[in-house]
């Protein structure tokens, strides 16, 4: 910042040069400040673009079907209210307005006969329709979808942790013929994109009679090559001395894995668990193909089906979208650092 001033002061001796230098420094500082303003303005533009769809989703989910059809759209869900004789606000639906007479025909929201009220007694008040959530939840077996997803996620996670730890331990610490070749084969399979093995997997699962079962969503994902890879890399960093000491103390192979290696690998295990949970929770193409009845259908497929069936009930679709992302979003805000780190290392984009 003061570089320019120093240079100017060196170049020319005397007060004039020093004053010029100070002016240059002030100009430099002003430019820097302007730059900072630009940087923050752009970053905030980014925030607005990233957040807007979420706000729009939530606000839509709290509107009435009529309010959704109003253009320009409202940001805060509102309803029409009339104040009764007892001073209580009562929500009404406006059936028609008569501008010349200055009256409107309204029906009370809780039922009852239509009535005519003066327009100036009709008030707009904030009204969040949380009932949309209950309605969406009831219109499709979302409780079932939720349970299915939670069950599939938990089984996949548990199974994957067991198989990955064992395999990674073998790859990292044991010696057997063909170890590196097998490991390389595993790694090369990681490069094959899911659509390539989708069709043959379907045929294999159909042979097992597993189409439209939980197994079809769980068993093929019980071993995840990237988890094995990540755990192996970590296991390799555990010093040999620890192994030697444990062996001398008569520790068995499995006890060593269980009591020494795993407690030292908590961070890696957490990272592996996070990306397994996130990718299983959000997976779509696989369960879309492998399931066809609501009894085993997971949440994402259920939400997709619901959105396609609803057509124009946008408030219900948005409510369903909100409750289907809620668990992960809440978890994300509680542990964003670990989640970002885990997903960034895994290369899984969601």
């Amino acid at each position: 910042m003061a570089d320019a001033a120093v240079k100017a002061a060196e170049a020319g001796a005397g007060g004039a040069a020093r004053a010029a230098g100070a002016r240059a420094a002030a100009g430099h500082r002003a430019r820097r400040a302007a730059r900072r303003v630009w940087v923050y303005a752009l970053l905030w533009l980014g925030i607005v673009i990233m957040v807007m769809p979420f706000l729009w989703m939530v606000t839509t989910s709290l509107k009435s079907p009529i309010e959704i059809l109003t253009f320009p759209p409202t940001w805060i869900p509102t309803g029409q209210f009339v104040r009764g004789a007892d001073g209580e606000w009562r929500e009404v639906y406006v059936a028609s307005r008569d501008g010349r007479a200055g009256t409107a025909v309204v029906r009370p929201a809780e039922g009852g006969p239509a009535m005519t009220v003066p327009l100036d007694e009709l008030h707009n008040r904030v009204r969040f329709r949380f009932g949309n959530y209950a309605a969406a939840w009831r219109q499709a077996p979302f409780a079932r979808y939720y349970l299915n997803t939670v069950f599939v996620v938990l089984c996949t996670l548990a199974g994957q942790l067991v198989t990955s730890c064992l395999a990674a331990y073998a790859f990292a610490r044991m010696r057997f013929p063909g170890r590196d070749a097998v490991f390389l084969l595993f790694l090369s399979m990681m490069m094959v994109p899911e659509p390539v093995y989708l069709v043959p997997s379907y045929i294999i699962l159909a042979k097992f009679g597993w189409i439209d079962t939980y197994q079809a969503m769980i068993v093929p994902w019980l071993a995840y090559i990237f988890s094995i890879f990540l755990l192996r890399q970590h296991f390799k960093t555990i010093p040999n001395d620890l192994y030697d000491a444990a062996i001398i103390d008569g520790c068995s192979r499995f006890a060593f894995l269980w009591r020494i290696v795993l407690p030292l690998s908590k961070a890696t295990l957490a990272a592996v668990s996070i990306f397994t949970v996130v990718s299983t929770w959000n997976s779509f193409l696989w369960p879309l193909v492998m399931t066809n009845t609501p009894s085993v259908r997971p949440l994402q497929v259920g939400l997709a089906r619901f959105a396609q069936e609803q057509g124009t009930n946008h408030e219900l679709m948005m409510a369903a979208a909100v409750f289907s992302i809620a668990p992960l979003v809440v978890a994300y805000f509680m542990a964003q650092k670990q989640i970002i780190q885990s997903l960034a290392t895994s290369g899984i984009k969601g």
């Binding site: 044991m174 097998v182 994109p193 946008h314």
Partner: protein, 324 residues
Amino acid sequence: MDWLTELRRKRFMDPATAVLYLVPAAAIIAVFRLAPIASAFLVSFFDVRMGRLRGFIGLAHYTRLFQDPVFWSSLGTTAYYVIGVVPLSLFLALFAAVLLNQRIRALGFYRTVYFLPVVTSLVAVSVVWKWIFHPRLGLLNYVITLSGGRALQWLEEPRGVFDMIAGAAGWTWWPGWLAGPSLALVAVVIVSVWRGIGYNIVIFLAGLQNIPDQYYEAARIDGASPRQMFWRITWPLLSPTTFYVLLSTTIVSFQVFTQIYLMTGPPIGGPMGTTKVTVYYLFEKGFDAGGNMGYASAVALVLFAIILSLTLLQRRVVEQRVHY
């Protein structure tokens, strides 16, 4: 310490035990990865309908595939999509990461918000964006008309964007082959960039933070301008990261499915088939219309060949320029 070596060997060099530890993972991978990948080739040579093998037909699927105009147009659509998403996501993510790398206060806040869409399911994201793009009631058209623009049809617009731009510029004639991707596909591109950019920002930011400060200090003393510092220091030292982002975004983009499945149509792949990408075509052939799985498998393998060769090509080309 010979006895220790001996003990170590006994404990850890016993192939039988190793196999025991490896079996659960290896069995799953063999049955559900290795076998399907290997049989993807086999399946593509057979007549398979609804999961039932009906007979060997050799290369018939492939010869039909290469004469299938829908397949070719799906490849073209996918190419448009990839060419749209990859540079846009790369450039915007790098730009955001450079902004974030300037001693920003509350850096974690920005990173958390930018990354949020990555955690949300693509299904929910697609459902929400379809509503934002709604031609009559959507938020986007409202914002556009508010700022004086003309409302667009977005996901329902089959016209090519270059054609539309030429039309808006007053040109009455524009060659059909230069029409470009439909506005509907561009809308899908926008959603995909929005969804994935946080991931790329985080990767770029990590790459930027790995560049030692001394380089910048030295350059500053030598009187380098910010632009010079970016092109002479940041860009070359960031190239491994850029390469990774380029590669991973390309591979993911070629497999686009969910956004198309949920945002376009009905019928899916619309309007006028301008958003029918290859993976959706594969799905439609293999699981939707009659379940011609042999044909779908052939589609999958051609797609895989393209992804693989592009990956290798990118690796080749970029490796000469990447500075590790």
